[in-house]
Symmetry: C2
Subunit: 212 residues, 2 copies
DNA sequence: TAGATTGTTAATCGATTAACAATC
DNA sequence: TAGATTGTTAATCGATTAACAATC
C-alpha cells in the first residue's frame, strides 16, 4: 500500500524538519530531506505534491511553512492519546517509553486482568480491564496498543473493537486481522528477526561466492 | 521490496503450518493458507513457485513436506541467536519475551553500560557493554537488537557494526541506516502509532461524509 | 542573465492478480 | 470420468524514477 508508505515518509520528514528547526535552519531542499529519510528526492517531491505541499522553485522549502502544512495534514494539533492493554513486560515498558514524549504520543492508561498489576496512582495509571470501556469513552480514545500474551490476544482484541477502538498496534506474538471498523498493525518481533536473519545469511552466501 | 515481503509471507505460512500440524492436520490448500495469512491464494502459490515449493495438482500440499521444504529455505535448523544491547525497559522486556521461544529465537545475552543493570547470573545474563565483542565472537552471533535511548543509539550501532554484527533490529526511537556490511530494520513505535492514527481519522472522515 | 530547484508528466519497474492449461 | 487444485504465464495495477519545462 503506497498511501501508507507515503504517510510514513511524510511523518519521517516531519521528524527531520523538527530537528532541523531546532538546529536553527530555515530552508531545506528536497535533496536534503531525501537523504535524511533515505529515499530519492523525486519521491519526496512526489509525496509532497500528492498533498499539495509546495515550496519555491529554486528556493527549496521554508522549514516553518512545511512544518505547519505537514502538521495540518498529519494532525499534530492535539497529542495522540493511546491506551495500553496488557501490562506485562512489553506493555509496562511502553508505558514510560521515552520515544513517545517527543513525538506527541501520550499514554493515558494501562489495563490488566491481574490484580497485582493494578495501580491507579501510577503515571500512567493501570486499571483493571473492566474499566477499559469507561476510560476509553471518558477520554475519547480510539487507538490502543495490545500487549497481552498470545492466548488471550484475539479475545481481548475483540473486546476492544466492540468497545469502539478504531486502531490497534498489536505487540502480541500472533498476527491479528482488522475489520471494517478497526485497523490493526501487527508488530511481529520474532518475524522481523527471522526476516532480517534470512537476508543476513543471504548476504553471507553471496560474499562467500565472491570470495572464491 | 518484494523479496522481503515474500520472505515475510513464507515465514507466516510456516507459523500457520506449524499450528495446523499440531492440530493433527495433514494437507492444506493454497486457499487455506492464503486465508490464514491474509493474502490471495495466487500470491501464496506464486511465492512458493519462486522457491520451487511444490504440492500436488488437485491434492494441495502435504503439511510435513511443505514444512521441511520451508525450513530448508528459511533456515530453521539451528535457533536464531540474538544479543540485546541496552537493557532498559524495552530491552529487558525483550529478554524474556514469550513470543521468541516458540519461534526459535534465542536471546543469548544482554549488554548495558549501567553497572546496576549487570547480572551475569540472570537468564539470559546481562554483561557490561565492554564484553560485547567477546560474547559475540564466542557465540558466533550476527544479529542483535538495539534498545538504547535515542542519544546513544547511533554510536552504539556503529560499535556493533565494527564488531561484525550483520543485522540490527532497532527499537531506539530514531531510525538508523544500515551499511554495506549490516542490515538495519527500524521498529519506530511512535511512527507506527501516528501512521495508524492517520488512517483512523481518515476512516472517520469518510464515515461522516457517508452519514450525511 | 545563468544556474539551480521545484512540480509534474511520462516512462519504467516490479509486484500482484487473473486466468487457464496441466493433471491428479 | 468429472471436478478441483496446482503451477505458470500474461495482464493489470500501482509505485517509483527519470526527465524536463517552469521559474525564481
Amino acid at each position: 500500500m503506497s498511501a501508507k508508505d507515503t504517510i510514513s515518509r511524510l511523518l519521517r520528514c516531519r521528524a527531520v524538519l523538527e530537528k532541523l528547526k531546532l538546529l536553527g535552519m530555515v530552508k531545506v531542499y528536497s535533496d536534503n530531506l531525501a537523504a535524511a529519510v533515505g529515499v530519492s528526492a523525486a519521491l519526496v517531491r512526489k509525496d509532497f505534491s500528492i498533498f499539495g505541499l509546495t515550496g519555491h522553485r529554486r528556493g527549496g522549502y521554508r522549514i516553518d511553512d512545511l512544518l505547519s502544512q505537514l502538521n495540518r495534514i498529519l494532525g499534530r494539533d492535539q497529542p495522540l492519546k493511546v491506551l495500553i492493554v496488557g501490562c506485562g513486560k512489553i506493555g509496562t515498558a511502553l508505558m514510560n517509553y521515552r520515544g513517545f514524549g517527543t513525538q506527541g504520543v501520550r499514554i493515558i492508561a494501562g489495563f490488566d486482568v491481574d490484580p497485582e498489576k493494578i495501580n491507579p496512582n501510577a503515571v500512567p495509571p493501570v486499571y483493571p480491564m473492566d474499566d477499559f470501556e469507561r476510560v476509553m469513552n471518558a477520554e475519547q480514545i480510539r487507538v490502543a496498543i495490545l500487549a497481552t500474551p498470545e492466548n488471550t490476544a484475539a479475545h481481548v482484541a475483540e473486546r476492544m473493537i466492540m468497545a469502539g477502538i478504531r486502531g490497534i498496534l498489536n505487540f502480541a506474538p500472533i498476527p491479528l486481522k482488522g475489520g471494517p471498523s478497526c485497523l490493526v498493525q501487527n508488530i511481529d518481533i520474532a518475524l522481523e528477526l527471522e526476516n532480517l536473519y534470512y537476508f543476513v545469511r543471504l548476504g553471507e552466501a553471496t560474499e562467500e561466492r565472491r570470495g572464491k
